[in-house]
């Protein structure tokens, strides 16, 4: 009764779908040791909220300590690529990141 996930195709590295940019290796190393990048890609937050998230990961989810420089690099990366509005209209992963709950011609309440 194995739980398996089939990845339909395997090819060259693409950093679990994370956008390439300064700090990506540190993000992969610090964040994806426990969880996959999926949860990062699903979320868009302010720099402050990412900082709070990292603090939570460190307090109860087993994330290690970060020195000041590394923390800044990670926060720079997250707020650039996963900021509130940073990337919803760019990049290849637009569908995935846009994640429209209401995929209709009328928005539920656009006002």
């Amino acid at each position: 009764m194995l739980v398996t996930i089939t990845v339909v195709a395997q090819e060259e590295t693409n950093y679990q779908g994370l956008p390439t940019g300064e700090g990506i290796m540190l993000v992969l190393e610090s964040c994806t040791a426990c969880h996959s990048a999926d949860i990062i890609l699903q979320n868009h937050m302010s720099r402050k909220a990412w900082e709070v998230t990292i603090a939570l990961m460190q307090k109860e989810r087993g994330m290690g300590k970060l020195n000041k420089r590394d923390k800044k690099i990670i926060l720079d990366y997250l707020s650039k690529f996963q900021g509130m509005d940073s990337d919803r209209s760019s990049s290849k992963t637009i569908r995935r990141r846009n994640n429209p709950m209401y995929d209709f011609d009328y928005r539920p309440n656009p006002l």
């Binding site: 395997q10 087993g62 309440n109």
Partner: protein
């Protein structure tokens, strides 16, 4: 780094359609005609993923992508969960699109998965599995699966379960966490014993107010000293006749992803109160303080979207709110003018019953009452159906709205924003084009 490049079904089929058939569906077409299915296994998998039978499967060309799937952006597949959209693969979190929830009772393959940690390894043998009841009880106890089956009366109920964060994707500013849409809800048949019968055997002390549950799932950091999740409920919910310790789901042992060999089902409450891989129940004389007891809360008062709310101003979510789904037809359907459209789905209301279901084809200006069935037992979702006539050609959105037995109905827009994006019970809609 062993990176993985995800490619869509489409891409795979474009490259080598027959290989794609074989890899994804275990499908081999008949060698001479290149049509149909050499073995029925591929057909079953494909039908489950589409959510319906394929009446003309014998004529289906090899290397052909069913349209229902070609239109999704499904890239990865969980074994045993073929039609689900994966939100996260570590931990595994996946939900079906609404049309896969059409069954009267949700089959194992179409049931959403919400994991907080890593499921215990397969070596865990059901015969050796034990769990304990401790804390504020006169007789702390340890049970094997056999004890549980022999000592207590068995019950089979259809029970609805919904993730507290179902619908989170609808909130703005976006709320942190897995961006569930409509599919993190299900109603399957569970067989087990009443949790209340087990707790009574352990003789509860008068000091009891809350439960704390512990499962065998490993924390993502693989540190055995941290619980991945440990939630509980007020004792009254634990003593409810429909709260079960279950070992069977839809007539089969629980699948690994659903808690094999043992789980609690607290129907109508956030799924996090229905722990899987159950190892320990701790009876508390205070509100439980386990991992993530500070989550699954909403503000005591309405807040402006984006507000940060201190923990002391938050209430623990108990019963989930009234909600409904249109599960057939699938959104995006085209129909011919003059034909009536049969639509159907489910409605549920946490601890309550659903009193009425209405549908609208004119953005909520007028409503038509749907036929609503009684639940097969309390806490089962209720089936509804309606026949709709469209006055003229055009693009319509069919809306559904349920009202519970206290007169509370689903909101038209996303309800009260809350920091973690819980309990979004806004109406579900499907798009229908009449030509």
């Amino acid at each position: 780094m062993a990176g993985k490049r995800e490619r869509g079904l489409w891409e795979l089929y474009t490259k080598d359609p027959e290989k794609a058939d074989a890899e994804i569906w275990d499908r081999k077409p008949k060698p001479l005609s290149r049509r149909g299915f050499l073995k029925k296994t591929g057909l079953a998998t494909m039908a489950l993923a589409i959510g319906s039978q394929i009446p003309f499967f014998r004529n289906m060309p090899g290397g052909f992508i069913p349209l229902a799937l070609a239109e999704t952006d499904q890239k990865r597949i969980i074994e045993g969960k073929e039609g689900l959209i994966i939100l996260n693969d570590r931990p595994i979190n996946a939900e079906p699109p609404a049309h896969l929830l059409d069954e009267e009772f949700t089959s194992n393959v179409n049931h959403f998965v919400r994991n907080n940690g890593l499921p215990p390894k397969e070596e865990n043998n059901a015969n050796k599995w034990t769990f304990s009841v401790e804390g504020e009880v006169h007789k702390p106890m340890q049970f094997s699966l056999g004890d549980l089956k022999n000592k207590f009366k068995h019950h089979i109920y259809a029970l609805q379960m919904e993730c507290g964060g179902n619908g989170r994707a609808g909130y703005y500013p976006p709320a942190k966490g897995n961006q569930w849409k409509f599919g993190a809800v299900a109603c399957s048949k569970y067989k087990g014993v009443r949790l209340g019968d087990v707790l009574k055997a352990a003789q509860l002390k008068d000091s009891v107010i809350y439960t704390g549950y512990y499962g065998a799932d490993l924390h993502l950091s693989k540190n055995p000293d941290i619980a991945s999740i440990s939630r509980g409920t007020p004792i009254s919910k634990a003593l409810d006749d429909y709260t079960l310790i279950a070992w069977e789901m839809n007539g089969k042992p629980l699948p690994v992803l659903h808690g094999f060999p043992l789980r609690i089902v607290s129907p109508g409450w956030p799924g996090s109160t229905s722990p899987k891989w159950l190892k320990k129940i701790v009876i508390r004389d205070r509100i439980h303080d386990g991992m993530k007891m500070d989550r699954y809360r909403v503000p005591k008062y309405p807040v402006k979207p984006g507000t940060s709310v201190p923990l002391e101003d938050m209430d623990i979510i108990e019963s989930m709110p009234v909600k409904s789904l249109i599960t057939n037809p699938q959104t995006g359907i085209n129909i011919k003018q003059g034909k009536k459209l049969k639509i159907r789905g489910h409605a549920w209301a946490g601890d309550r019953f659903v009193q009425m279901v209405h549908v609208s084809i004119d953005f909520g200006q007028t409503w038509q009452q749907a036929n609503l069935k009684q639940p097969v037992n309390p806490y089962a979702w209720q089936n509804w159906n309606a026949n709709i006539k469209f006055p003229r050609k055009g693009y319509y959105e069919v809306w559904v709205r349920a009202t519970d037995n206290k007169g509370i109905m689903q909101p038209m827009v996303v309800p009260g924003w809350n920091p973690s994006g819980y309990i979004n019970n806004a109406m579900h809609r499907i798009a229908v084009t009449v030509s």
